[in-house]
C-alpha cells in the first residue's frame, strides 16, 4: 500500500521543486501536482486530497509563512490531511501552530533532512500513515528548555537521547537503528523514561509521541 502514494508538492524555487519531485518519484511516490504559491496549494490540496503534501514554509505571494498558513487552512477544510512542512529554519512557534490543527499526519522538518534520502522518505511515509514527525532541532530546543526543575533533568544521557527520538516521531525499530542498540534495550529505556516522567505507557507509537509532545507543552 506504500507504493504509488499520491503527493502534492509546494516549493517556489524551481531547482528545489524539481529536485524534490525527482527524489519522491524515484522513491515510489506519485507526484500528482506541484505548485509554487500558497493559494494554488490550498486549491490543489482540496481538489486532489493527496495521501500526503510536502510543503515549503516560505511561498509567494507574501514570501513569509504562506506555506504554513496554506497547510493549516487546507487541514481545516480536509481534516486529518497529512502535511509535511519543510523549511530552511525551524521555529517552535510554527510547530505548535501546525500541531494545534490536529496532531496526526503532521510533519515539520528542516530542508537539510532531505540529504538523508532514506530517512526523509521514511518521514514522508510516517506522516502519510498519520504519524507525527518533528525535526530534531525543534525537539532538542524543547528538551533543553525543559532542563531545569523538571523530571527530564533526572533522565540519563542515553534516556534523553531516546526521548528526543521518541519526540521526533521515530518507531522503536527506528530508535534502535539510530542508536545502534537492540530493540530490547530501546524498550527498556522507554519504560524507564515513562516511569520517571509519570506518563502512561503505550504500545502505539503515535500515542506515545503525542504524550511526550503535550508533556513538552507543544
Amino acid at each position: 500500500m506504500r507504493a504509488g502514494r499520491r503527493v502534492v508538492l509546494a516549493e517556489d524555487l524551481t531547482l528545489l521543486r524539481d529536485g524534490l519531485r525527482r527524489l519522491l518519484t524515484a522513491s515510489g511516490f506519485d507526484v500528482v501536482e506541484d505548485v509554487d504559491n500558497g493559494p494554488e496549494l490550498v486549491n490543489a490540496l482540496v481538489t486532489h486530497r493527496p495521501d500526503v503534501a510536502v510543503v515549503d514554509v516560505r511561498l509567494p505571494p507574501t514570501f513569509t509563512d504562506e506555506g504554513l498558513r496554506a497547510a493549516i487552512e487546507a487541514r481545516t477544510q480536509v481534516p486529518g490531511l497529512p502535511v509535511l512542512v519543510l523549511s530552511q529554519y525551524v521555529e517552535q512557534v510554527y510547530a505548535k501552530e501546525l500541531l494545534a490543527g490536529g496532531r496526526t499526519g503532521v510533519g515539520y522538518l528542516l530542508k537539510d533532512r532531505v540529504f538523508d534520502v532514506d530517512q526523509f522518505v521514511d518521514a514522508v511515509h510516517r506522516v502519510a500513515d498519520g504519524g507525527t514527525v518533528l525535526d530534531p532541532e525543534v525537539v532538542g530546543r524543547l528538551l533543553s528548555r525543559s532542563a531545569e526543575n523538571n523530571p527530564i533533568a533526572r533522565l540519563t544521557a542515553r534516556e534523553r537521547q531516546v526521548l528526543a527520538l521518541v519526540a521526533e516521531g521515530r518507531s522503536n525499530a527506528g530508535i534502535a537503528a539510530a542508536l545502534n542498540v537492540s530493540l530490547k534495550a530501546v524498550d527498556f529505556h522507554i519504560s524507564n523514561i515513562f516511569t520517571k516522567m509519570d506518563l502512561p505507557a503505550s504500545a502505539d507509537d503515535n500515542r506515545r509521541v503525542l504524550a511526550v509532545l503535550s508533556y513538552l507543552d507543544i
Binding site: T64, Q88, Y89, Q92, Y94, K111, D112, R141, A147
Partner: protein
C-alpha cells in the same frame, strides 16, 4: 505641586511678586555697566574671571526668573545654556539673549509686572486721600466721590488685570530666556550627526562581520565540498568505496554549511521576525527561553522594519543577560504603543545590579536605539528586581493579514 494647581496663583501673592519683580527689573540694569566694565578689563588678567562672574550672576538671575515662572505661573522655561560641550558663556548665544533681555525687562517687562503693584499702590493712595479729606473735613463731596470712583476703577482694573499681566510677563520671559529655535536646531543637528555616524559605523562593522563569516564559513565549506565531489568523481570507477566515503563527507559538509548560513541569516534578519513581526518573534524568544516568561503584546500595527529589527535584537540581548547573569527565576515582557512611541519593558526577579557601563551590552543597545531617537533606561537596584524600559518613537503600519 502640579502645573495646573499653580496656573491660578493667588492675586495677593501676585501683588507681592509684582513689587519684587519690578524692583529687580530696575536693579538688574546694573548688570549692563558691570558687563561693560568687566569686558573693558579683559586685556588685564582680572577681566576674564570678572566677565564670567558677571555672566554667572546674570544666569543666576535668569534662573530665578525661570524658577518663578514654573513655580508661580506653571509655565516651564527650559534652560538654554550649552554646558555639556564646554562652550564658554561668552560664546553661547543664550548669554547674549540674557543680556538683551535686561533692557526689555526694565521697560516692557516693568510695564507688565508693574501693573499689579502699581495699581494697588495707586488705589491705596486714592483711599488714603479720601481718608485724609474725610478726617480734615476738607473739600467737597463731589471731589471725594470722583476720587472714590477713580480709586474703585483702578483697583477693579488691577484686580482684573493681575493675572493676564503676569501671564504676559511669563510669555516675555519665555521669549528671551527659553532656548532659541536656532539653538534647539543646532543641538538637534549635533545629536543627529553623532547618532548617524554611530549607525553607519555599526552597519559597516556588521557588513564586515557578515563578509568574514561567509568567507571563512559557508564559502570555505563549498570549496571543500567541490573538492570532495571532484575526487569522488575520479575515484568512482577505480575505488567505489573511497568515492562513497568522499560523497558522505561532502553531504556532511553541506549540512554544516547550511547550519552556518542559517545562523548567519538569523543574525541578520530572523525569518520569524519577517514572517510574524515583533509579536511572533517575541513569542518565539519566550518559547525558547529556559525561564518562564510572561509576555504581553498590545500592538495595533507593525513598526517600521528597521525599528522592529533593532528592538528585536535588543530584546534578545536583554533576555540573554537575564538568563546568564541575573539568577532570576521568572521574567515578564510587555510590548505596547503609546503616544507615538513603541514601548517595551523587560523585568525580572533576579539580583539586580545591571548597569549600562560603556562598552557593555546595555550601552550598545542604548547607542543603537539612539539612531531612532529611542532610549533605554535601567532600574536595577542591588538585590533586584531589574526593570529595563525601551522607548522608540515611530509610526505603526496597519497589519494586513
Amino acid at each position: 505641586m502640579t502645573a495646573s494647581e499653580e496656573a491660578r496663583p493667588g492675586r495677593i501673592a501676585l501683588v507681592a511678586w509684582s513689587a519684587l519683580l519690578s524692583v529687580s527689573a530696575v536693579l538688574a540694569l546694573a548688570f549692563g555697566p558691570a558687563l561693560v566694565v568687566s569686558l573693558l578689563l579683559v586685556p588685564l588678567r582680572i577681566g576674564v574671571p570678572l566677565t564670567n562672574a558677571v555672566f554667572g550672576g546674570l544666569r543666576g538671575l535668569a534662573d530665578l526668573h525661570r524658577l518663578w515662572a514654573v513655580r508661580v505661573l506653571g509655565q516651564p522655561i527650559p534652560r538654554p545654556y550649552r554646558q555639556l560641550d564646554g562652550v564658554p558663556p561668552i560664546a553661547d548665544p543664550a548669554t547674549w539673549r540674557d543680556v538683551r533681555w535686561l533692557p526689555v525687562n526694565a521697560t516692557v517687562g516693568l510695564a507688565l509686572v508693574g501693573i499689579p503693584a502699581g495699581g494697588v499702590l495707586l488705589g491705596t493712595f486714592g483711599l488714603g486721600t479720601i481718608l485724609v479729606w474725610a478726617l480734615a473735613h476738607d473739600g467737597g463731596h463731589g471731589r471725594a466721590a470722583l476720587v472714590l470712583m477713580v480709586t474703585i476703577a483702578v483697583l477693579g482694573g488691577t484686580w482684573a488685570l493681575i493675572r493676564p499681566a503676569m501671564r504676559a510677563y511669563g510669555a516675555l520671559l519665555h521669549w528671551f530666556l527659553a532656548p532659541a529655535e536656532t539653538t534647539r536646531l543646532a543641538d538637534r543637528i549635533a545629536e543627529l550627526t553623532e547618532t548617524r555616524t554611530e549607525a553607519l559605523d555599526t552597519q559597516a562593522a556588521e557588513i564586515r562581520r557578515i563578509e568574514r563569516d561567509l568567507h571563512d564559513g559557508a564559502q570555505a565549506k563549498l570549496v571543500a565540498l567541490g573538492m570532495n565531489l571532484g575526487m569522488a568523481e575520479k575515484l568512482l570507477v577505480q575505488d567505489p568505496a573511497a568515492a562513497l566515503r568522499l560523497l558522505s563527507e561532502a553531504k556532511q559538509s553541506t549540512g554544516h554549511a547550511l547550519a552556518e548560513l542559517r545562523e548567519l541569516v538569523r543574525g541578520i534578519q530572523p525569518p520569524i521576525l519577517a514572517d510574524r513581526g515583533l509579536d511572533g518573534a517575541a513569542r518565539a524568544l519566550v518559547m525558547a527561553s529556559p525561564l518562564p516568561i510572561e509576555l504581553l503584546v498590545e500592538l495595533p500595527g507593525r513598526p517600521p522594519a528597521p525599528v522592529e529589527s533593532a528592538v528585536y535584537f535588543a530584546l534578545t540581548e536583554i533576555l540573554t543577560n537575564v538568563t546568564k547573569h541575573s539568577a532570576a527565576t521568572s521574567a515578564w515582557i510587555r510590548i505596547g504603543y503609546r503616544g507615538g512611541r513603541l514601548d517595551l519593558m523587560v523585568a525580572d526577579n533576579g539580583m539586580g545590579g545591571a548597569h549600562p557601563y560603556p562598552g557593555g551590552g546595555l550601552h550598545g543597545i542604548q547607542r543603537r536605539l539612539a539612531a531612532f531617537d529611542g532610549i533605554l533606561t535601567v532600574a536595577s537596584p542591588t538585590g533586584g528586581p531589574t526593570i529595563i524600559t525601551m522607548e522608540v518613537p515611530c509610526e505603526l503600519a496597519a497589519v494586513s493579514s
